[in-house]
């Protein structure tokens, strides 16, 4: 496990039932049954504190940021920039200017692919991505390779869903220019040894982008301890709003990169023929951003910091162990992704029942899971399956809900018996 995870304090006890009241949507009933929300890897639910902060912003502060001289503009700017500072502290970034607001992980990866990759990659260069990438950390690299003539090489994994680190190490050569790798797999739940992956890349003078979309909700991420060059994540998967995310970048790399988009806010001065770009982070934030999203993400960080992350991680590990054990008991059920280091994501297939049918039958009991290829078709091809059913847990889930899931799966088997 990563050093960042190991150093978390684990003394305090945490139980999901303590925080369920913070998430109003969980009180809902679906088809007459209490909602059992197990689709957290797709998106997580939002605590009242985040909803309130966003409401308050629109009720009391709404204005455009950075340019106004009036009271509201000043207030809005302060809230937005306070969120940036909170995020920098949360991920241990050296400075808030290294925290760039984007729409989400996907945009963060596209930004780096365009402003770093398209500019620097040459024909014959090599880019390494892992075999378990989400489409969002695969397709942008395919596109930039197509544009530059660089070649994409895939870091292979074993049948448990763990990367072959020894093989990865041997993939480096004089043409290797970049590594893009997922921290936690959204399908397999694998927690990749990113600190080691980065150390090996740096030993070869190659920078690394980490897709942290599934990691940030589950573990304390320290970008300095990881020594990541770029780290991307989304607000909505960590109990924050949709439409806002973060790209963290090493300062000298960001400084050397051209802007991603042109427009307002990313400039210092403009004439008809020449523009001087703004400083970090604004150089990469063209146009009026998702201000309320940033404010909401700031409130999310405050919420998460009010909890003991170590105790939460221990609780989620316990949930994962319990769910793994209960699901493994079900005849005909096969868990896809059995890495030794896993986050609370379980993909599975049932003999004779397509994941879609499982999803529909579980929904009838108010259980929300995800079914399909999870935007990771190559991972499905790797395991020789068209789709999986996936239950993914967050800090507000309980063992009782896992029991309901197990019952629901038995019911699906009965329907199809």
């Amino acid at each position: 496990m990563d050093a960042a995870v190991m150093t978390m304090k684990t003394a305090e006890k945490f139980d999901g039932t303590q925080v369920r009241g913070d998430f109003p949507i969980l009180r809902q009933r679906v088809n007459g049954k209490p909602l059992v929300y197990l689709d957290n890897a797709a998106t997580s639910q939002k605590p009242q504190a985040v909803i309130d902060a966003m409401n308050r912003y629109y009720l009391e502060e709404n204005s455009n940021i950075h340019r106004g001289v009036h009271f509201l503009s000043d207030k809005a700017t302060q809230s937005y920039e306070a969120a940036r500072t909170a995020i920098a502290r949360f991920i241990n970034a050296p400075a808030p200017r290294q925290v760039i607001f984007v729409r989400g992980t996907t945009e963060a990866v596209n930004l780096v692919a365009a402003s770093y990759g398209r500019v620097r990659f040459r024909e014959g260069d090599e880019v390494l991505v892992s075999a378990m990438e989400h489409h969002s950390n695969l397709v942008p690299w395919q596109m930039v390779c197509e544009q530059t003539g660089a070649m994409l090489r895939i870091i292979p994994m074993n049948d448990r869903g763990e990367l072959f680190i020894d093989k990865y190490e041997k993939m480096f050569n004089s043409r290797t220019r970049f590594v893009a790798v997922v921290h936690v797999s959204n399908v397999l739940g694998t927690v990749n040894p990113v600190a080691e992956i980065i150390r090996i890349a740096h030993g070869n003078g190659v920078p690394v982008l980490v897709d942290g979309a599934q990691a940030v909700p589950h573990m304390r991420v320290d970008v300095r301890a990881l020594d990541a060059d770029f780290y991307a994540f989304s607000g909505h998967k960590m109990f924050g709003p949709t439409g806002v995310g973060v790209l963290y970048g090493r300062e000298e790399l960001l400084e050397a990169m051209p802007p991603y988009q042109g427009g307002g806010d990313m400039i210092k001065s403009v004439t008809y023929h020449k523009t001087v770009y703004n400083d970090l982070p604004y150089k990469f934030e063209a146009g009026t951003p998702n201000i309320v999203g940033g404010v909401g993400l700031g409130a999310t960080i405050a919420y998460l910091e009010s909890l003991s992350f170590g105790a939460v991680a221990a609780y989620e590990n316990d949930l994962l162990a319990y769910a793994t054990e209960r699901l493994a008991e079900i005849p005909g059920l096969r868990i896809i992704g059995t890495a030794r280091e896993k986050a609370s994501v379980i993909s599975f297939v049932l003999e004779g029942i397509h994941p879609h049918d499982i999803g529909t039958i579980l929904d009838d009991d108010g259980i929300a899971i995800r079914t399909g290829h999870h935007c990771a078709q190559p991972v499905m091809q790797c395991f020789g399956i068209p789709a999986t059913a996936r239950a993914s847990f967050a800090l507000y889930n309980t063992k009782h809900e896992i029991d309901i899931l197990v019952k629901g799966i038995h019911k699906a088997q009965k329907v199809f018996s």
């Binding site: 879609h356 049918d357 079914t371 199809f416």
Partner: protein, 150 residues
């Protein structure tokens, strides 16, 4: 469980378990792949035509119970029908699964297809039920290429 039971009717479970006309046709007149990129369901439909009559039909591929049963039931109801009759059935079926109109009005013409009436309660599953039909439609209209439900 009533909406669910309505969805997974005996006919559907039976056709899922033992699909009719499952397999390939040697030397088909038409062969079209159908694919639902959302869930990965994919079927290939093979047709043997005699003038404008569907003389034989087979399908191959994999998908959920709804999509597989739909392909199976479709294959059994369109066999021996003319292209125009098959297209008309598709129209009826489409209205049935999307909950348009009164399905009971058409119940006689729908025959076995009426088993899919429960689908209209599950909007996310309409694409599963219609994948094979869209594929057939493409095959009847154009011949050899690929269709998707997108």
């Amino acid at each position: 469980m009533s909406a669910l039971r309505e969805l997974y009717q005996e006919v559907i479970l039976d056709h899922n378990k033992s699909p009719r006309n499952f397999g390939r046709l040697e030397h088909p007149d038409r062969k079209v792949d159908g694919y639902n990129p959302l869930c990965g369901d994919h079927f290939t439909i093979f047709l043997k035509l005699n003038g404008d009559v569907i003389e034989d039909i087979r399908f191959d591929g994999a998908g959920c119970a709804i999509s597989k049963a739909s392909a199976s039931v479709m294959s059994s109801v369109v066999k021996g029908k003319t292209i125009a009759e098959a297209e008309e059935l598709f129209g009826l079926f489409h209205r049935l699964v999307t909950g348009e109109g009164d399905p009971m009005e058409q119940v006689e013409r729908l025959g076995k297809l009426a088993a899919f009436s429960g689908v209209s309660e599950f909007p996310a599953r309409v694409k599963c039920a219609t994948l094979a039909w869209h594929t057939l439609h493409t095959a009847l209209r154009t011949g050899e290429h690929r269709t998707t439900t997108e």
